[in-house]
């Protein structure tokens, strides 16, 4: 298993899209932090309130959707260039390949999340400094938001692997996942918040401490995300193990 882990890590590091998505995730983290700060600039708002701190820093997870894309590419991309045949020739027990990708993309998601959190923190720190304020790093509103953003990114990395394992065609998987996360879930939540707050993407908003009404408590949101990821992963594992690799 350690050989497979090292090989998968080499594969991820050698694939250019990994680095482009990392840069984009960090950039979205910066924009996601700047946007709410610019929106309240010049207004009588207490930037040091927990609400404003969370409003600024939760943007660190704005690029989590790109971690989802990275996970999908990492798994479903194997089918695009015939790499999957080579992967299963090296490791005919396919569950090992999926398990290794799960571990690696949990790590990739964490790295992306940390990078985005660092970029968001630096951005917020600079903004506060420009306003003669100090970002209060000792406040739970800061570090719980940042930890939540990293956790969301890590879980989205694994969710991407699971979606990729179920769909196994990168383009439909990416388009479908983006449409669901960015369009369908927010629309459903807007229509009936108390019903659709259980959806995984909406639950992730709570975990990243986005200040909004009707969201689940963070603990329940984490449980929802973990259950969705686990169910999708088991489904993907079974399909990958069962289905023929025909080309």
């Amino acid at each position: 298993m350690s050989d497979l882990l090292r090989a998968e890590l080499s594969k991820v590091r050698a694939t250019p899209v990994t680095w482009w998505l990392l840069l984009s995730t960090a950039a979205i983290g910066i924009l996601g932090t700047l946007a709410p700060l610019i929106a309240v600039d010049g207004k009588p708002v207490d930037l040091l309130s927990d609400h404003q701190i969370r409003a600024a820093l939760h943007g660190a997870a704005g690029g989590a959707v790109l971690v989802l894309v990275a996970g999908i590419i990492g798994m479903a991309g194997e089918w695009r260039f015939g790499q999957v045949s080579q992967a299963f020739l090296s490791s005919p027990r396919r569950w090992r390949v999926v398990t290794v990708k799960t571990v690696i993309y949990l790590g990739v998601g964490t790295v992306y999340g940390v990078a985005a959190a660092a970029a968001a923190t630096a951005t917020a720190w600079g903004w506060y400094r420009a306003k003669d304020l100090t970002l209060p790093f000792d406040r739970s509103a800061v570090w719980l938001t940042l930890v939540g953003c990293v956790a969301v990114a890590a879980l989205f990395g694994v969710l991407g692997v699971a979606v990729g394992a179920v769909v196994r065609r990168p383009v439909p998987a990416i388009v479908g996942a983006l449409a669901w996360t960015v369009l369908v879930e927010p629309a459903l939540f807007a229509a009936a918040p108390k019903v659709f707050r259980w959806l995984p993407g909406i639950a992730s908003l709570s975990l990243r401490r986005q200040p909004a009404e009707h969201l689940l408590p963070a603990g329940a949101a984490a449980t929802v995300l973990l259950v969705v990821v686990a169910v999708a992963l088991v489904a993907g594992l079974r399909l990958v193990d069962r289905d023929d690799v025909t080309g």
């Binding site: 694939t15 899209v17 790499q83 025909t246």
Partner: protein, 317 residues
């Protein structure tokens, strides 16, 4: 070029293997054995079931019935599969953004193989000077060499190669031919599919022919060619009437363009028959020894030659 290859051996066995995709039988009760130290040509038209059979041997496709084993076990049960079996299926399976060396390094790492093997196989397939180039800039021939390098990475005793000369230029084909012979001499078992029948005739010791999923021949090349000694090629003004007359006499005849390829009668007999049925002036009449292709088309039929009646499998030890 210094390449140290160990002399490994292995065997391949298909026993009554079948595969059904969505109620469509793609491989139907196929059995054959590839002994160590031989090259077995695997021949069939597109869609005949060659690739599916090879994928069943490699554990990529699950048989619907029967067994497809390598070294006496299913591929999935091999402890170190890359050290026992090398395969070319569907190209090198490399990410286009990776270099050849990175691709092979990832393969070697995942299989627990020493890194030095990467340089050795790059040298063997003569890709060393392109090792750091991205794969998306490779020609078809270079991709085939890279695929072969991947197959040879574990120095395996069994090689299952699906169309390994596809896309290679003539020097590349010669190079593959020499490589295959050398590998077989070292005791390895090679199953090689190709649509270039003449190419397989150059290197194969044995031939397995399948047609529409069914085995039609599993024999040595010598036995296959000894089966029929001559073929008559005839072109005339009315080939349809001659074809009808020959078929009525149970003569084995296939159509290739405007020519009839006739087996089991002499050129003189064929010419006299054409005259007797009024098939018009004969433009071309020649008799030659049956080639591998003639026998193949007789046994398997094809898209390019008119299919003859189905025959029982030709099986020899």
């Amino acid at each position: 070029m210094v390449v140290n290859m160990s002399s490994r051996t292995g065997t391949i066995d298909c026993r009554a293997v079948s595969k059904v995709f969505d109620h469509r039988t793609v491989v139907d009760d196929v059995s054959f054995h590839v002994p160590a130290g031989t090259i077995t040509g695997f021949v069939g038209a597109n869609g005949a079931g060659k690739t599916t059979t090879m994928r069943m041997l490699l554990g990529l496709v699950a048989p619907s019935a029967g067994t497809a084993w390598v070294n006496g076990r299913p591929y999935r049960d091999l402890k170190q599969p890359r050290r026992e079996v090398g395969a070319v299926v569907d190209g090198p399976g490399a990410h286009p953004g990776h270099s050849a060396r990175t691709h092979l390094m990832i393969m070697a790492t995942s299989a627990g193989l020493p890194r030095r093997r990467v340089d050795e196989v790059l040298d063997l397939v003569e890709l060393t000077e392109h090792a750091h180039r991205r794969v998306d800039g490779f020609s078809m021939g270079m991709l085939q060499r890279l695929a072969l390098a991947g197959a040879l990475l574990g120095d395996p005793g069994i090689l299952i190669l699906d169309e390994p000369v596809n896309g290679l230029d003539p020097p590349g084909i010669l190079w593959v031919r020499d490589l295959l012979r050398r590998l077989a001499k070292e005791g390895r078992a090679l199953l090689v599919s190709s649509h270039l029948l003449s190419e397989l005739a150059e290197v194969a010791h044995r031939v397995v022919i399948i047609d529409r999923g069914r085995l039609v021949a599993d024999t040595t090349l010598d036995d296959l060619l000894a089966d029929k000694s001559h073929v008559v090629e005839l072109r005339c003004a009315d080939p349809a009437s001659l074809l009808q007359a020959l078929r009525a006499r149970k003569i084995n005849v296939t159509v290739e363009g405007d020519a009839l390829m006739i087996e089991g009668m002499s050129a003189r007999e064929a010419g006299e028959t054409a005259a007797a049925v009024g098939a018009g002036p004969v433009y071309w009449l020649t008799e030659r020894a049956s080639s591998f292709e003639d026998v193949y088309f007789r046994l398997a039929g094809s898209m390019t030659r008119e299919s003859p009646a189905r025959t029982d499998p030709v099986v020899a030890s």
